[in-house]
């Protein structure tokens, strides 16, 4: 059924991606259908989305951060007459259950782009008298919430998406985001902060992109003050963090001002582990083996199939025998190796119990991070600068100084850092697990290059831009692990990385991003008037600068 999905007017790129990610988390595996209401700009907050049930719609909306509300749309139109017509034509059996006399209700009038006075609001509510409301009004805690929303061209200079024609919507609220989370978790209230602590709203969006749920294990290799993991822990995940800076991760600013205290402050479960480690040389043991047990086929159907080219075939071949035939012929390459089958509870609800003792190197359900771009914080890795450049041989630490030796570190370029991150994620994520991270891009004359790092094990499913300044923005990339990690894949990934580095990211080298972002502009003489006229020509619509 089609629902009206109204967003908060911010982080425009993140809105649909969040709903799509949550829908999948809640068991909707086909991709969502979207459409825009008549005459609406793509950046408008009003969207129509097709969802399988009201429960799914409610759960998506309540878990989201950017959905103001999902509504069962009773009618829409360009004028009140059209709206009345549409509401009257909406099937009675869909309306009457919500209008009965034992229920309570409330009507809210809202507009996008303009404030409506109390008097006008009342007039509009009264004009809805043609709807046979039989229940009583309850403004505090009604059973049903009805919303009358309108958008119109209220003047050109408010920076909002252009409106071609007035549009009015009337619907019943199904669910909406719990924005109360944001003041609770806002950075202002956080005891231990670092210079690049992740904003609470963004951290929650990242957790939603990663489909964080209770019992999942989430890892952040650049944990810093733990600001991203706090959001993951709020949604019930087990968290794990590493950082190369031991002061950030161990000491903080005192016994009650460190990463642990940031979790205690909100009554969240503490991270399972914090450690000091280098993302360039991660200390995880090789062959973190995973024996995948397909009990009742849940993991299989829900995690592997949506991403595998043979998925559709496998959905059809639901009997155990057929599935095994599939494995036997080696068509599902990552499982073909040595698959044994235990027959037992096959009669019960079509469930199967297959054991695939294949070596997967995976343990994390999601990796969430904000890698150091070298703009506000630079990355570091093991090995001194001179050592890595080959100027000096490795410094041999004398035996008597080994215990408290502080190893030197060298700068860690973003390109290398992202390559290591993808490699780590490919090795350590479970199949279908998500890697969600920020990647900076330069903006030149409002044109953004859309070349993002790639990896043979991953499929990029969302990229959402957030503009940070006129010079650069950061893009939240959501990648899903679709292939298993092998030596061959690792080699292919290195080649891909080299190509990527040569073609697209020359500016990502040592400090180029920093200088591109901070170098002063040098307007040549005579160009002054140009830049002034440029300012005047700036479009009235602010687009993504909201």
């Amino acid at each position: 059924m089609w629902y009206l999905c109204v967003f908060f007017h911010r982080l425009l790129d993140y809105r649909r991606a969040e709903v799509e990610s949550l829908a999948e988390m809640l068991g909707v595996y086909s991709s969502l259908e979207w459409r825009l209401p008549e005459n609406q700009h793509p950046d408008s907050p009003f969207h129509l989305v097709n969802l399988p049930s009201e429960d799914v719609a409610r759960n998506i909306a309540n878990r989201s951060i950017l959905v103001k509300g999902i509504y069962e749309l009773w009618g829409e139109g360009s004028s009140f007459e059209q709206l009345e017509e549409a509401i009257k034509n909406y099937p009675e059996d869909r309306k009457l259950p919500y209008l009965t006399c034992e229920t309570t209700f409330k009507v809210t009038v809202d507009s996008f782009g303009k404030a409506i006075s109390f008097q006008e609001q009342n007039d509009r509510i009264k004009s809805l008298a043609f709807i046979p409301f039989k229940g009583r009004v309850n403004l505090k805690n009604p059973d049903f919430n009805f919303w009358l929303m309108e958008t119109d061209d209220y003047g050109a200079h408010n920076g909002l998406p252009p409106v071609v024609q007035k549009r009015i919507f009337f619907g019943r609220l199904v669910g909406g985001a719990d924005r109360k989370l944001l003041p609770t978790y806002q950075l202002k209230s956080r005891r231990y902060l670092g210079p690049t602590a992740m904003d609470a709203e963004m951290a929650f969006l990242m957790a939603n992109q990663a489909q964080v749920m209770p019992g999942k294990l989430v890892y952040d290799p650049f944990v810093g003050t733990g600001s991203i993991l706090v959001a993951a822990a709020h949604f019930g995940a087990m968290t794990m963090g590493a950082d190369i800076d031991i002061r950030a991760v161990r000491d903080g600013r005192g016994p009650d001002c460190n990463v642990w205290s940031n979790f205690k402050q909100y009554g969240l479960p503490l991270p399972v582990a914090l450690l000091r480690a280098d993302n360039n040389l991660p200390p995880w043991r090789p062959g973190l083996k995973e024996v995948i047990v397909f009990d009742s086929g849940y993991f299989f159907l829900n995690t592997m199939i949506p991403f595998h080219p043979l998925g559709a075939w496998l959905v059809r071949a639901l009997t155990v025998d057929e599935m095994c035939e599939g494995y036997g012929s080696g068509s599902f390459e990552c499982l073909a190796a040595s698959l044994t089958m235990r027959e037992g509870n096959t009669e019960e609800n079509n469930s199967m119990s297959l054991v695939a003792p294949t070596q997967f190197h995976c343990i994390f359900d999601a990796i969430l991070c904000d890698p150091p771009y070298g703009v506000r914080a630079g990355g570091r890795k093991s090995g001194g600068r001179k050592l890595l450049k080959g100027i000096v041989g490795p410094y041999t630490v004398p035996d008597d100084k080994r215990t408290d030796h502080i190893p030197s570190t060298a700068p860690y370029s973003l390109a290398e850092c992202v390559h290591d991150l993808l490699d780590l994620a490919a090795r350590m994520l479970v199949m279908g697990g998500r890697l969600v991270y920020f990647y900076p891009v330069l903006r030149e004359n409002d044109v953004v290059e859309n070349h993002f790092p790639e990896h043979p094990c991953f499929k990029l499913i969302a990229s959402s831009e957030q503009i940070l300044s006129s010079r650069y923005s950061r893009v939240l990339l959501t990648m899903v692990k679709t292939g298993s990690y092998t030596e061959k894949v690792a080699e292919a990934a290195i080649i891909k990385h080299q190509e990527f580095k040569e073609n697209y990211v020359k500016w990502l080298g040592d400090c180029n991003l920093h200088s591109s972002v901070f170098s002063p502009a040098h307007p040549q003489l005579g160009e002054e008037p140009d830049s002034k006229s440029c300012k005047e020509l700036k479009p009235k619509y602010r687009g993504k600068y909201v």
Partner: protein, 122 residues
């Protein structure tokens, strides 16, 4: 540091082939209560190296885990409780992790293992 973490870590010094499991030298061990979550335990069980967990528990002064375990034992509440206690409630607060091949000590300080390598180990 919990034994869960210990079960995932290895020494990654250049040239070391078998850096797992790290030997635990315990100076201070803490017990902190954690909510019991059987689903998490069942999910993690197949991913763990059981022997490393048993040896690690012994190094922290807990010897009640069976030497061998298989997934059928996860049905028993008593076993799960012990497993939970070892995996998540025992903390190595102060001590060191020793590389089984080279004997290099990775210090554990305030519960945080320091896995950063020296210049001549990269």
């Amino acid at each position: 540091m919990r034994l869960f973490t210990h079960n995932m870590l290895s020494s990654n010094i250049k040239g070391v082939a078998n850096g797992f499991p790290l030997r635990i030298e315990a100076e201070q061990v803490l017990e902190k209560q954690v909510d019991f979550n059987p689903d998490f335990l069942k999910n993690m069980f197949p991913k763990l190296e059981w022997k490393a967990l048993v040896d690690g528990a012994r190094a922290l002064g807990y010897a009640d885990l069976p030497e061998e375990a298989d997934s059928l034992m996860l049905e028993s509440e008593e076993f799960l409780r012990k497993f939970h206690h070892v995996l998540l409630e025992l903390h190595l607060e102060e001590g060191a992790l020793t590389c089984p091949e080279t004997g290099r000590k990775f210090p554990v300080n305030k519960g945080i293992p320091n896995m950063l390598l020296h210049e001549d180990e990269v």
